[in-house]
């Protein structure tokens, strides 16, 4: 029982991180129907920016809370800029090309960014200064670390902020309108290129936050850390119904939970397999996902 509770706590932590990454996939897919392979690398870049900034700020003598907060905000901004640059260089010129071309361009960007990280940051793990936040509390037999509390707290905050942005603001409405009908949104005066760029930036910001939190949680980052979580987060987006924001959050939570439970009760070696099996099963049995609406491309 205590073991289960502990697994659930860990699952929520991990699931929240997957949800943050999945949002980037789902938003970009919703608006330009592209599996943005480079998204996993943006997440990795976020993780690295986190450790770079936290280490520096810490060495300047700032208190841990300031270090964390500032690093989070700056890394999100950095990744937003990075994703906008990638979009502008590698995807925007291909807007009229076949979908395969854009997909391959995305794949190329993913390899490019991953190796760029390797070249500038080295091939070895880089340790996070996790000693900043220590300790935790016991809750019904399960140990909850303060780090987990911070991770879940920040995740919830970001998810709420995103929901407000997308469903309550004028820009959010414009984003949804552009995803549904680009020609018509141009006819009402929406600059779709700007909206697409913004979508990439928001998705990247969330991924950067996720990268930092994973770095804090596991204690280190690596240049190729983006690949597997990237695929899992995409699975989460598909599970929730691609293009659907609420679905991506739900999907991330489910995938994280399943992974932790599978690792705890079945086999930790095969935990990565479960995410892939779920992805394939979902696509086979309910290709529109749990929250899916009319994803079949009859969007008129």
């Amino acid at each position: 029982m205590e073991f289960l509770l502990q697994q659930l706590v860990n699952g929520i932590t991990l699931g929240g991180v997957y949800a943050l990454v999945a949002l980037g996939y789902t938003m970009v897919y919703g608006i330009i129907q592209l599996i943005n392979f480079a998204h996993g690398e943006i997440y990795a870049a976020g993780g690295y920016m986190g450790v770079i900034l936290i280490s520096w700020l810490f060495s300047q003598g700032f208190p841990p809370a300031v270090c964390l907060g500032a690093a989070l905000v700056l890394a999100m901004g950095y990744c937003a800029m990075l994703a906008m640059a990638v979009e502008k260089v590698a995807y925007k010129p291909l807007r009229q090309s076949s979908r395969l071309s854009v997909l391959l361009s995305a794949l190329g960007m993913s390899i490019f960014l991953q190796n760029g990280l390797m070249l500038t940051q080295g091939v070895y793990d880089r340790a996070y200064p996790t000693e900043m936040v220590q300790g935790g509390f016991e809750f019904g037999g399960a140990v909850v670390s303060w780090m987990q509390v911070i991770i879940v707290g920040v995740t919830v905050l970001l998810l709420v902020a995103l929901n407000l942005l997308v469903f309550k603001t004028r820009i959010g409405k414009a984003m949804r309108a552009t995803a549904q009908d680009k020609t018509m949104s141009a006819l009402v005066g929406i600059n779709s290129n700007r909206i697409i760029s913004l979508t990439f930036a928001i998705g990247a910001g969330l991924a950067a936050a996720a990268g930092i939190m994973v770095g804090l949680y596991y204690g280190s980052v690596r240049y190729d850390m983006g690949f597997v979580p990237g695929v899992k987060a995409f699975s989460a987006a598909v599970l929730g119904g691609i293009g659907n924001i609420t679905g991506a959050m739900l999907g991330g939570l489910i995938i994280g939970m399943i992974e932790v439970l599978a690792a705890g009760y079945i086999s930790s070696e095969y935990k990565d397999v479960f995410a892939f099996v779920i992805l394939i099963a979902v696509l086979y049995f309910m290709p529109t996902g749990i929250m899916g609406e009319n994803v079949d491309d009859t969007r008129v």
Binding site: I52, S55, F58, M81, A90, L100, L104, G108, I111, V228
Partner: protein, 403 residues
Amino acid sequence: MTIRASKLWLGYGLAMVWFYFLLWPLMGIKPEGLEFQTSLAVWGKVAAASAVLLALYQLKQGGAFRFLEKPAQAGAEALAAVTGRVPTWLALCVVAGAAVAFPFLTERYAHDVAISVLVYIILGLGLNVVVGLAGLLDLGYIAFFGVGAYTYALMSVHFGLSFWLCLPISGCFAAIAGCIIGYPTLRMRGDYLAIVTLGFGEIVRIVINNWMSLTNGPNGILGIKAPGAYWFNKGSFEHIWLNNLEQLYFVILGLAVFTIVAVYRLNYSRIGRAFEAVREDQTAAELMGVNTLRLKLLAYALGAVFGGLAGTFFAARMKFVSPESFTFIESAMVLAMVVLGGMGSIPGVILGSLALIALPEVFRGFELYRMFVFGGVMAVMMLFRPRGLWPAKRMGVRSEEKD
């Protein structure tokens, strides 16, 4: 329409500022303090190189190279006239002669590279059946390579079966794996297919990595036998192992020729045309009476067979297999060959394999930058030459890409 010069350079300036903002935090923020020199040095090189490229582009737009056009065109015409007069069979003979003479003219290191190139040619052609002909994007193709390699490795180590017997067995196993992977993915749209095949590729690798009792996990399998042969020696046939690189070169050359002929025949067969019909317009193909589901399954299986053959040879050549050889990046590499060379085009795929395997060997000193450049080139290719270096003649738009 030409973009105005001032606008072009303004864009360049903005892009470079943006680029520096992205570069500096990665290189210049260190716990010891902030540092600008290394990042500025890198930035300066990139900025200068792109300025030169941009200036060349502008000169070209302005017509500065027009004086080159005439001689270039004349040269191309002369070349076409010469090559046009040489019959295809003669050209093929020259290529074949060169391929056979190759190991006698070069040394060990070159043999090694040539063997790699030929393995990748087989892989590229196999993937080309799936991606180029049938239009199904497969990001987990290397899994079949792995299935082939492990099939032979296990058969050889545990049962002592010979390489030649294992070739068809591995092919069959890979084909079965192809069907297993293919079946659930058949009804999916193009880009879902990509992610699912990627997932399958990873599953195969993870299973190989963790199934200790069968595959010995990450430690791999040692002691795989080389191909054997009977060779006329001192008045009688005796059994020898084809251990040295020259002999292995001829084995893989034979396999590659077999693959090329098979894929060529397939290209122009009834089934090949049906594949193309499915690629160009699935609905129309279905209405014409093509069984699209069965065809797609067949495409997967056929592509997988070639992957399995290449894998078998790979295991025999290395005498060792481990899961590390079958990662996603290898799948991406093979796909890049097909795309770079030209989807659906046999000479294109051969050219692509040469470019991606042999060229980096020439620039050995830049080993670290290899994948970095490769990723960038892949994106740039999509921009400037999306149909590849040697495009296939019969390629249209895939049905699902039309809006």
